[in-house]
């Protein structure tokens, strides 16, 4: 009898253990992880949708956050700083959990971003910094980038290295953070290299036609021009056209988010080199920081984190199929 009982007990225990093994042990961090994201709202205000950077960030954020049950709400001010400020103001009353903002310049949104944080909304800034620092900034280190570009000018164009020493710069708009900080970086380097002569430093308003006319005139005046550096690949399509028409071997160093069009341009000789801040990487950085903030549950503005994006200097020779990314298709 006792034997039978022991046997039954053993069998019962084994069965219990067996079923426990089949079910597995629950990960204790799982539920809080998913709970901290479910139903959370992220609002995204770029300077405008419809170009590679902003579309790429939006796609990356959606891909990372929507499966977790978060919603991404895009407010498109379409290049209007006023419309962007209005969108921000109305968001402050709507109180989403996170605002991702792409600043048109260093001043316009500064006060609103402060108010948003005071209202308890986490604020993530991407690529173009505001004068007011918020919870997170993800983007290129533009001063460092300018210094690296300045160094490229010296490497390529200094008379000691076989260049003519003449370089030109085509900026976007003068007040954008990207332009101001980069010029600072470039100046830091060029001030130590008097042999490099900056023959033209103009703003083309991010417009390729203007960039083309400027480049054509500068090359005309300085046929021995060594390098033009432009501040955006989309605009520099115009610079490239001017160089091609002139037939002169001017080195074109551009920059941008590393969309497929840049690799195509490097491959077919439109650009000589491009400084790339990889947009899907930036989107992942933002998504990770958002996940971090939502799990930590600290008050907005309690911590300030800066994540500088790694910069790649891409040329025809060092790029690979994975160097550039494809625009998400709409639908």
């Amino acid at each position: 009898m006792r034997r039978i009982l022991t046997g039954l007990l053993a069998a019962g225990l084994a069965a219990c253990a067996g079923s426990a093994l089949a079910q597995g042990i629950d990960d204790p961090t799982r539920a809080p992880y998913y709970d901290s994201f479910a139903g959370k709202r992220v609002a995204y205000i770029p300077v405008a949708m419809g170009f590679d950077l902003t579309e790429g960030w939006a796609a990356g954020l959606k891909e990372a956050l929507e499966p977790l049950g978060m919603s991404i709400d895009i407010r498109d001010p379409n290049w209007s700083t006023d419309a962007g400020a209005q969108a921000l103001t109305s968001l402050i009353t709507e109180k989403p959990d996170v605002i991702v903002v792409h600043n048109p310049d260093v001043q316009s949104y500064a006060r609103l971003l402060k108010r948003a944080e005071e209202a308890g909304i986490y604020v993530v800034q991407v690529n173009m910094r505001s004068a007011y620092s918020t919870d997170v900034f993800v983007g290129a280190d533009y001063v460092g980038m300018g210094e690296q570009i300045g160094q490229r000018m010296v490497d390529k164009c200094a008379p000691a290295n076989g260049g003519s020493g003449k370089v030109a710069i085509t900026q976007g708009v003068l007040t954008a953070a990207a332009s101001i900080y980069q010029m600072q970086g470039i100046t830091n380097v060029l001030s130590k290299h008097p042999e490099i002569q900056l023959v033209s430093n103009q703003a083309a308003d991010w417009d390729s036609t203007k960039a083309k006319n400027i480049a054509a005139t500068v090359i005309q005046q300085h046929p021995d021009l060594c390098m033009i550096t432009g501040f955006w690949d989309v605009m520099d399509v115009g610079t490239a056209a001017a160089i091609k028409e002139s037939g002169k071997p001017v080195y074109l160093l551009t920059q941008g988010g590393g969309n497929r069009m840049v690799c195509d341009g490097l491959a077919n000789g439109t650009y000589s080199e491009s400084v790339v801040y990889f947009v899907p990487g930036q989107a992942r950085d933002m998504a990770n920081m958002i996940k971090y903030l939502l799990q930590q549950k600290q008050p907005a503005g309690a911590t300030k984190t800066t994540l500088f994006t790694k910069l790649d200097f891409l040329t025809k020779d060092n790029m690979t199929a994975a160097s550039c990314w494809d625009m998400p298709t709409k639908g």
Binding site: G50, S200, S208, T209, N213, T217, M327
Partner: protein, 323 residues
């Protein structure tokens, strides 16, 4: 404009010459063949658009949708080629779209009798929004490989002269011949000068108004093709830029009065050249962009002030107003 007085066209031409002489003396590389060619090339698209706007303004209208329509229709053509449509077919569809919108503009102005400035302003916004939402995915549409044949129109040269200059010249010649010799061209001027009088004398005034907007959209489309070919892409953001005001500036600066009926293609050429000389000289001098705007604005104001002093407003303008 009385006898012995300088017309605005002459004043502006004089100003352009003066600037030319100044730049030529101060800047060693200014008066070279290559730089002059480059100067004219850089403003030839502006000039082509100026002819389109000039025709409408001579007919006492204004077309604020010109640049928006150009940007969206040409960007759509490139987009269609990019999705695999043959180039000629895409161009024909986009051109048809452009002409249709031009006709709608004309119909709104001539038959619904909405003031041209409001009808075309609204149309420009509508086209841009429609294009960006329904026709195009992105702000900037790149020239696909299949459309490479038309690059020559913007980047090629013929006998050492850039092709856009020839196109500008051809559009000017066409516009001039149309105004001078075509029956509808003369009607256009008559309608612009005095619509009621033109009507009484049997001019089909309303169809002529429609025609001027259709012409403007046609020439605008050509300018768009040259733009796209010139920078291997089309930026639809042009539609919401101040470019259309630059075009009006060229027209008004050259001396085509906004009150209609006066001026010709020569005025457009003169206005275009002044802007070209200014931009080119300032770029060579490496003047900062914001300062360039100040100088540009100051010179334009000067031209207008000189004109007002030399040619005081007459009774007709006083009654009709400038627009």
């Amino acid at each position: 404009m009385g006898m012995g007085r300088l017309s605005q066209e002459q004043i502006v031409f004089g100003l352009a010459l003066l600037l030319c002489v100044g730049f030529a003396l101060a800047l060693p590389g200014f008066l070279t063949t290559n730089n002059v060619l480059n100067l004219v090339r850089s403003v030839s698209i502006l000039g082509i658009l100026g002819v389109a706007m000039g025709l409408v303004v001579i007919g006492r209208g204004i077309d604020l949708s010109l640049v928006a329509l150009m940007a969206v229709s040409v960007a759509w053509a490139l987009h269609m080629v990019g999705t695999g449509m043959p180039l000629p077919q895409a161009l024909i569809i986009a051109l048809a779209f452009s002409l249709f919108i031009g006709a709608v503009n004309g119909w709104l102005v001539a038959y619904v009798e909405i003031p041209a400035i409001f009808a075309t302003l609204a149309m420009g916004t509508l086209i841009y929004g429609f294009g960006r939402y329904f026709l195009l995915d992105l702000d900037v549409v790149y020239m696909p490989e299949a459309a490479r044949h038309i690059l020559w129109l913007g980047q090629g040269t013929l006998f050492g002269v850039p092709v856009p200059i020839f196109l500008f010249a051809a559009v000017c010649l066409g516009g001039h011949l149309f105004l001078r010799y075509a029956k509808s061209g003369r009607y256009l001027r008559a309608v612009g000068d005095n619509m009621l009088a033109a009507r009484i004398t049997g001019v089909p005034a309303r169809p002529v108004v429609v025609l001027q907007y259709v012409l403007s959209s046609l020439i605008g489309f050509m300018a768009g093709i040259v733009t796209a070919a010139s920078v291997a892409s089309m930026n639809t953001r042009l539609a919401i830029s101040t470019y259309v005001y630059d075009v009006i500036l060229v027209v008004v600066l050259g001396g085509i009065g906004l009150s209609g009926g006066r001026g010709g293609i020569r005025n457009v050429i003169v206005g275009t050249l002044l802007i070209g000389v200014l931009l080119n000289g300032m770029t060579i001098l490496d003047i900062q962009y914001t300062v360039q705007n100040v100088i540009k604005g100051a010179i334009l104001l000067t031209a207008i002030v000189i004109d007002t002093i030399l040619n005081p407003r007459d009774e007709q303008t006083a009654q009709q107003g400038d627009i």
